[in-house]
């Protein structure tokens, strides 16, 4: 199996797709090879400054802890644990998080072993090896191994409260299908979707895969922002939280950490949308749902 990089520098860095391409070998994608970490770090561009957020070991410690806790079990379970903690450790602005080269560096330079462990598919019936999809290293935000967790935490948190993130990440279909849709950029919509899961209205992957397209399609004619307005955003709590990174304790163990102290999503907005989505779901075609299961 691909192992922990031998060389881990002090600070996080950036690496472009073009540069990354030469390190994403077929052997790495099959989990047989390591990333040549010294060469990789030569090609990477180290992030300037002395910001505590950019210390590499903070992220690596988190990855080590995740592997320790979940390494012998089902890898998908680790998402719900890692997503909020990765978000809380990195403390990025969205502008910073839109930098793809940072995520590529995390996957190749900081934790290729984690990417392989988490995303290596089962060997096929014909005996061919399992593989990690290339886009787990260099893909869009809803596919890349770490970007998807960070964005899930950013889009599903309720202000400082990461509990909805844990719920969303507990269902791979919610994580995979909702994250790529623009509708979750509206916070009450994101929380209403999670709410339906938590209440058991939608349970299986098939349920989720019926719900999210229905909600998305309805958004073409309905303005959820008017039906269920979010509270106004204030950038100060986020800036304070980022400034507090220096003195923050690592969020490794124990309780779920707190996110930035932003306004919570109005409960009434979430309730209105949840009721609306429940109606949409009742009418949506679910694969394998027969009329007997229908409520």
């Amino acid at each position: 199996m691909t192992s922990r990089p031998e060389h881990l520098p002090e600070r996080l860095a950036l690496i472009s797709d073009v540069q990354a391409a030469q390190y994403i070998s077929a052997g790495l994608l099959e989990g047989r090879e390591n990333v040549p970490s010294i060469a990789l770090n030569k090609a990477a561009e180290v992030l300037p400054g002395d910001d505590a957020r950019l210390r590499l070991h903070r992220v690596r410690d988190l990855i080590d802890e995740a592997l320790l806790r979940f390494g012998s079990g089902r890898p998908t379970v680790a998402d719900a644990w890692l997503a909020p903690r990765l978000h809380e450790t990195l403390r990025l602005t969205r502008r910073e998080a839109a930098e793809k080269r940072l995520w590529t560096y995390l996957a190749l330079g900081v934790a290729p072993d984690y990417v392989v462990w988490r995303h290596l598919s089962e060997p096929k019936a014909d005996g061919s090896r399992g593989r990690v999809a290339r886009d787990k290293f260099v893909g869009p935000h809803y596919k890349q191994a770490f970007a998807r967790l960070w964005w899930a935490a950013e889009l599903f948190r309720d202000g400082p409260d990461y509990r909805p993130v844990v719920a969303a990440c507990g269902n791979q279909d919610m994580l995979n299908s909702a994250l790529r849709l623009d509708i979750v950029d509206h916070r009450p919509t994101a929380l209403a979707l999670v709410g339906l899961m938590e209440r058991g209205v939608v349970r299986t992957g098939r349920d989720v895969n019926a719900l999210t397209p229905a909600v998305n399609a309805a958004a073409a004619t309905l303005m959820y922002d008017v039906i269920a307005p979010d509270s106004e955003r204030d950038g100060d709590p986020m800036r304070d939280w980022i400034d507090g990174a220096e003195s923050a304790l690592p969020s490794l163990r124990g309780e779920l950490p707190d996110g930035p102290d932003e306004q919570r999503v109005p409960a009434e907005a979430v309730r209105i949308l949840a009721a609306h989505f429940e109606e949409l779901f009742a009418e949506a075609p679910v694969r394998g749902r027969t009329s007997d299961d229908d409520r």
Binding site: S16, R94, M223, D225, R233
Partner: protein, 330 residues
């Protein structure tokens, strides 16, 4: 054309930015000059600010809605006019409600405020008219046809973006460039914006492209630039098509960033006479091997050359060479 199960506005909804204010740390404030936004281009260029450490921007907006149609048809109640600012790269979405300037009037005014940290590059601003229709609340009954672009760093309010050209030594520059050491230029489409890397080791090239030399050099330089642009368009097109996101039902989606803009720009020349969506589907089907990908190549080259204005540049070069010949003979 999309069909809607409820009545929508036939008249146009338009919007314009009327003022831009920025706020930085320590409560510093700046009102941008009106040159920073263009009603013709529908672009706001926030790079024209005096200071680049601003934290929030506030845009004043006026939207014009077909008020008479709303009144006479009478399908709609609880009218709301909302401005929505989004950026795909940061999943950002900011919404502001506008208010009628005068009771029953056509103009609705308001302000939308957003954080610099919530945006990367370019956000798009749309205005929607929302109403209760047939007892259903929150229906979108009309939207602006063309969105405004809010560019976080541009220093001129232009919709089209200038090509990013960087001059680097391929032998001493970034590692991946070393394998291209004999090439005059390389197009890199992996970044936020496509970039042309000009090889400074290639003797005389930079002077040619910058057009600082003799007449002959400037004639050739222009031709070279057009050729380079054509390379960029071709490379960008292939990058965009090679990296499409596909819906569960197999429908390819336009990428949210410049790749999508490039596709929309080039598709009418590549698959003429079709809607953007149909044209994209056609290209995608050919790309994945159902139908001929090879036969599409001349059309891609044609579209790229047209965008890069290669025919004009070539015609100009031929004319200039003739003129130079005459001068030397005289």
């Amino acid at each position: 054309m999309r069909a809607y199960p409820y009545p929508r506005l036939a008249g146009a909804v338009t919007a314009r930015v009327t003022a831009v204010r920025l706020r930085g740390s320590g409560d510093s404030r700046e009102k941008l000059d009106s040159k920073a936004y263009s009603v013709v281009e529908q672009v706001v260029a926030l790079g024209m600010a005096e200071r680049d450490d601003w934290q929030t921007a506030r845009l004043a907006l006026t939207a014009t809605v077909p008020a008479r149609e709303i009144e006479t048809k009478g399908h709609w109640s609880d009218l709301a006019v909302v401005a929505v600012l989004t950026e795909g790269a940061t999943n950002a979405r900011t919404v502001a409600r506008l208010a009628p300037d005068a009771e029953g009037g056509r103009d609705w005014v308001g302000e939308i405020e957003f954080d610099r940290d919530h945006h990367l590059d370019r956000a798009s601003l749309t205005v929607h008219v929302v109403a209760t229709v047939d007892g259903i609340e929150g229906r979108i009954i009309g939207s602006t046809d063309q969105e405004w672009m809010v560019d976080m760093s541009a220093d001129a309010p232009l919709r089209d973006r200038r090509l990013d050209v960087s001059t680097v030594s391929f032998t001493r520059g970034a590692e991946w460039l070393r394998s291209f050491r004999d090439a005059p230029w390389v197009v890199d489409t992996s970044g936020r914006l496509p970039t042309v890397h000009l090889n400074s080791d290639f003797e005389g090239l930079v002077a040619l492209v910058e057009g600082q030399g003799s007449k002959v050099e400037s004639v050739v330089g222009e031709m070279l630039l057009a050729q380079m642009c054509a390379d960029v368009w071709t490379a960008v097109f292939h990058t965009a098509v090679g990296d499409l996101e596909i819906e569960d039902d197999g429908t390819p989606l336009f990428p949210p960033d410049w790749r999508g803009a490039v596709l929309r720009e080039m598709l009418p020349d590549i698959v003429p006479g079709r809607s953007d969506e149909d044209a994209l589907r056609e290209v995608y089907i050919r790309r994945i091997g159902e139908g001929s990908w090879a036969s599409l190549q001349p059309r891609i080259q044609y579209a790229a050359a047209r965008r890069a204005e290669v025919p004009q540049a070539l015609a100009g070069t031929v004319r200039d060479i003739e003129r130079l010949d005459q001068e030397t003979q005289a």
